[in-house]
C-alpha cells in the first residue's frame, strides 16, 4: 500500500494542481511579476473559455464520444450574441440565456447525428465543425464584433480578490454543478457506465442512446456559454473565433484526466486542465520562449499526460494484458 500522499497524487486533479503550484512558484521565483495580481487575473480569465469548452467535452468524452465542433460552436455563439449586444444593446442576463440556447441548438445538431442517426461521433462532429465554422463566416458577413460595452467587459477585467477576476467566480458554479451531476446523479453515473462499456450499460437498463444524445446537448450548452465568456474576456469576436480551440479543449480535458476511451474523468479535471495549460503557456512566455512554441508546449503536455495515463492506468483499448501485468 503506497503512502497516503502518493495515493492522493494518483488523483489527476490533485496531481495537476500540484504541478500548477510548482510552475507558479518556479516562475515567481525567476520573475516576481508573475505573482502580480494583474497577471494572475489574466491567467484565470484566459483559461475560462477553454474551461467551458473542456467541461462540455468532458461529458462527451466520459461517454466515449468526441466533439470536434465545440470551438466552432463557441465562436458562433460569441458572434451571434456579440452582434445582439453591439447593435441592439442586449444586457448580460439575456445574452447568457441567448448564448446557452444557441449552444443547445448547435449541440442538438451533433446529438441528432450521433444519438439518433448513429454516425460515428468523430465523423458527425467533423461535419458539424465544417458547417458551424462556415456559418460563423456567413453570419459575420465580413463584419466583426468589436464594441462590447464596458459594463460587460468589466467582468473580465475587474477582480474580487487580488488576482481573482469576477468571470472566474461566474464560472465556478458551472464547474460545481457539472461535478455534482457527474458524481451524484443517476444520469451522471450512467454517462460513466456508457463510456466504460455501452453493451453492459444497455443490459443494465440504461437508455444508452438517450445518455449519448444528452452529452452532446450539454457539450453544446457549455460551448454556447463559452462564447459569452469569450465576449466578456476579449470584448470582441470575428469569423475565425474558436477555429483553433477545438483541439485545445480536448487537450485540456485530457490533461485534466479525462480519457478518450471513456468512463474516466470529471468536471474538476476540465477546470484544472485548462488552468494548467494557461499557466504553463504564460510561464513559457515569461521564460522568453517565443510564442511560436506555444502549440508545441500544448503538444508536449498532452503527450506527457497520455504517456503518464498509459503507465498509471494501463489505459487505452489494450487494457487487459497490461492491467494483469501491473496488478500482479
Amino acid at each position: 500500500m503506497p503512502p497516503r500522499w502518493a495515493q492522493l497524487l494518483r488523483r489527476r486533479e490533485i496531481l495537476v494542481t500540484a504541478v500548477i503550484i510548482i510552475v507558479v512558484a518556479g516562475s515567481t521565483a525567476s520573475h516576481p511579476y508573475f505573482w502580480a495580481s494583474g497577471n494572475l487575473a489574466f491567467i484565470f480569465a484566459d483559461s475560462v473559455v477553454i474551461t467551458f469548452l473542456a467541461l462540455g467535452e468532458s461529458f462527451v468524452m466520459i461517454g466515449r464520444g468526441i466533439d470536434l465542433s465545440v470551438g466552432a460552436a463557441m465562436g458562433l455563439s460569441a458572434i451571434v450574441v456579440g452582434f445582439r449586444i453591439q447593435n441592439h444593446g442586449m444586457t448580460l442576463l439575456p445574452a447568457v440565456l441567448l448564448g446557452a440556447g444557441l449552444g443547445v441548438a448547435l449541440g442538438l445538431g451533433n446529438a441528432l447525428l450521433v444519438g439518433v442517426v448513429r454516425l460515428p461521433p468523430i465523423i458527425a462532429t467533423l461535419g458539424t465543425l465544417s458547417v458551424y465554422s462556415g456559418l460563423e463566416f456567413v453570419v459575420t458577413n465580413g463584419n466583426q464584433v468589436d464594441t462590447i460595452p464596458s459594463s460587460i467587459t468589466n467582468l473580465g477585467s475587474h477582480t474580487v480578490l487580488p488576482g481573482v477576476p469576477v468571470i472566474l467566480l461566474l464560472t465556478l458554479p458551472f464547474v460545481l454543478l457539472s461535478a455534482w451531476v457527474l458524481r451524484y446523479t443517476a444520469f451522471g453515473r450512467s454517462i460513466y457506465a456508457v463510456g466504460d462499456d455501452a453493451e453492459a450499460a444497455y443490459r443494465a437498463g440504461i437508455g444508452v442512446q438517450r445518455v449519448v444524445f444528452l452529452t452532446y446537448v450539454i457539450s453544446g450548452l457549455f460551448a454556447g456559454l463559452g462564447g459569452v465568456a469569450f465576449l466578456i474576456y476579449t470584448s470582441g469576436a470575428s469569423s475565425t473565433t474558436g477555429i483553433n480551440d477545438n483541439l485545445t479543449a480536448i487537450a485540456a480535458a485530457i490533461i485534466g484526466g479525462t480519457a478518450l476511451t471513456g468512463g474516466v474523468g470529471g468536471a474538476f479535471g476540465a477546470l484544472v486542465g485548462s488552468v494548467f495549460l494557461t499557466v504553463t503557456l504564460t510561464a513559457m512566455s515569461f521564460a522568453h520562449v517565443s510564442d511560436v512554441w506555444q502549440p508545441a508546449g500544448v503538444g508536449v503536455l498532452v503527450l506527457l499526460a497520455v504517456v503518464y495515463d498509459s503507465r498509471s492506468r494501463a489505459g487505452g483499448t489494450r487494457r487487459s494484458p497490461r492491467r494483469q501485468r501491473g496488478a500482479r
Binding site: T128, E136, G299
Partner: protein, 339 residues
Amino acid sequence: MTATLDLPRRWRLPVWGTCLVIAIAAELIYFTLTTRQFAGHGTGMLDLTEQFAPTGVLALGLAMVILTGNIDLSCGASASLAAVTAGTVLAKGGGPVLAIVAAVAVSTLFGLFNGLIVAFVGIDSLLVTLATQFIVTSIATSVAGASPPFGFPSAFTLIGQGSVNDIPIALLVFLVIGLLVIAAVGYTGLGRSLTLIGYSPRAALYSGIAIRSSLTAVFTLCGAMSGVAGVLLAAYYNSAQPQIGTDLLLPAITAVILGGMDIFGGRGRIAEVVLAVFLLGFLSQGMLIEGDSSLSITMITGLVLIGALVIKFAFERNFRQRMSARMHRFRTLSRDAHG
C-alpha cells in the same frame, strides 16, 4: 448430407463508387452549364485539379492510416513542415531536387516518429497525433521564421503549376500515387495486413501479422505522402506559409470519409477515395469560380459529408438487415437438411 455451396462469384459493381461517379458527372455538367469559365476550352477543368491535388495526396496517405482503424491528425501540419523545409532549402540556394528530397525526408521521419509511438508505446493514435500536430506546427512556424520564403525558381514551381500536354503535373503526381496506393493496399501483403489490422486487431494478432511494423510502416508512408503534398503546395503557391498544409487536414479527412472508408478501419476502397477527392475538389473549385467564399464552401462540404453519410449509413443498415435475414434463412435451411 453435405451440400456443396455454390456461392455466386460474379463481379459486383461497387455501389458507392458508382454513386460518386454519377455525382461527379452531375456536378461537372452543372458547373459547365452555369459558369462559362469552368470548362474554359476543355482544359479549364484539368487546370482546376492543380488546386486540389495536394489535398488528394494527403487524403491517400490518410486513407491507409484510417484503413488500419487509426487516424493521423498531424498529416496536415506535417505537409506544412515539408513545404517550409523545401522553401527554406530553396531560399538558401539549394537545388529543386535537394529541396524535394529534404522536404519528403523530414516529413517521412516525422511519420516514422508517430508510427513508433503508436505501435510501440501503444497509445491511441488520435491522442498521439493530436499532440504531435501541435508540436510540428510550432516547428514549421519556427523554421519559416518571421518572413516565410517565397519566389522559387521555375524548375521547382513547375511541379505545382506546369503541365504535360495540358495535363497538370500535380494531377499526374496524384494519379500515380493513387495507383501505387491502390496496388499496395489491394495486391500486397502489407495492404492485406493493414486491412486485417483495421478489421480486427485481435484476429490480426492471432494470425501472426507483424502489427507493430505494419503500423509503423503505414504512419511512415503517410508522413512521406504529407511530404509530397507539402512540396506540391509550396510549388503551387510559390511560397511556403507555415499554415499552408494544416488547413488541408479537414478536407483530406472529409475526402477519405466521403470515399466510403470506414472510420473504424478494415473496410473501404482507395479508388473510391480518389473519386471523392475529385468530387469535393471540383465542388469547391466550381463554387469558388461562382463567387462563393472559401468558408461557405467549407460549410457546404460539411453538409455534403453529413448528408452522404446519413444516406450511406441508412442504406448499409438496411443492407445488413437483409443480409442477416438471408443468413438466418440459410441457417434454418441447412439445419433442416442436417436434421
